[in-house]
Symmetry: C2
Subunit: 146 residues, 2 copies
DNA sequence: GTGAAAAGATGACAAATGTAAACGAAAAGA
DNA sequence: TCTTTTCGTTTACATTTGTCATCTTTTCAC
């Protein structure tokens, strides 16, 4: 595996703010506060703290705009999503990832275009897919389960 | 959405131990210690602490076996996996989940059976799939992005 | 039965997280 | 200019998480 460009780990609370900034492209602390209020009862203080932490983690950068700061993303949403998804799946048993992905496919609202793209990916993969994928739940033990 | 039977949140470290216990069905503290050692340099103390926390969180229960405890799972691996995957995807923009799932499909090693099952799921979904899925990144704002 | 080995119980401690309150400076309105 | 509002900065504080070290209590081998 390539050593992935590690994006900073973001907490759930921080992620909420990032989504706002990713979508708007940039935002001031008060803009973020105003927008997040539709969803979370956080005080401005809380938002400021989270933004500061995101800057420290190098997930955001700031540019001054007179008295205040404008916050801009330093990592893309796509990259952050990829990393989070990867980290989640890294916890799972190799053998069981397929089942879990299947469940996600079932539960997620997908557009027709999404589905067509997935169908293309799967068709390609099928050709070289292994008969089975071994469980790797017991460290150092091959075929731990089943 | 139905109110999901909430399984306790497990940390990354705790999850590692759970995988061992799920796979073996049950294990004593020293068995877990021995097995985890192939992967993590944790002391027995660390393992005991994590097991205790898992019991407190009601992810595990114990039965006495003479001087020691046998740890048994109180939640299934499947349930825990579902919940973790759900929580991860809950963070993501509705509109972008499909793209992220597609990437996961590409990157994950899938068995032929996995792929066939996914193909079946997708074929079914396609019939009733929406043309597009709206972004929900800005709380309270419809079609935030694009 | 005595000492070493094995288990559980307790206590610790730093870093990360969620969630602010307070304080100080600057800008804007009266 | 005096006051209020608006920002950023500092400090705080309880929890959770990662990692152990110790202490205590059982056992098991001599």
């Amino acid at each position: 595996m390539a050593v992935t460009e590690m994006a900073p780990e973001m907490t759930t609370a921080e992620w909420e703010l990032m989504r706002i900034i990713w979508t708007k492209g940039q935002a001031s602390s008060s803009e973020v506060s105003a927008l997040i209020r539709a969803k979370k009862n956080w005080t401005e203080s809380t938002v400021k703290t989270l933004l500061r932490r995101l800057v420290n983690k190098q997930a955001l950068k700031t540019v001054r705009d007179g008295r205040r700061f404008i916050y801009l993303p330093l990592i893309t949403e796509s990259h952050a999503m990829d990393q989070m998804a990867e980290e989640t799946f890294a916890r799972l048993c190799e053998m069981k990832k397929g089942q879990e992905l299947t469940k996600l496919l079932e539960e997620t609202t997908l557009s027709q275009a999404d589905i067509r793209q997935m169908q293309a990916v799967l068709a390609t993969k099928l050709a070289s897919a292994p008969q089975t994928v071994a469980c790797n739940c017991l460290p150092g033990v091959e075929h731990a389960c089943c």
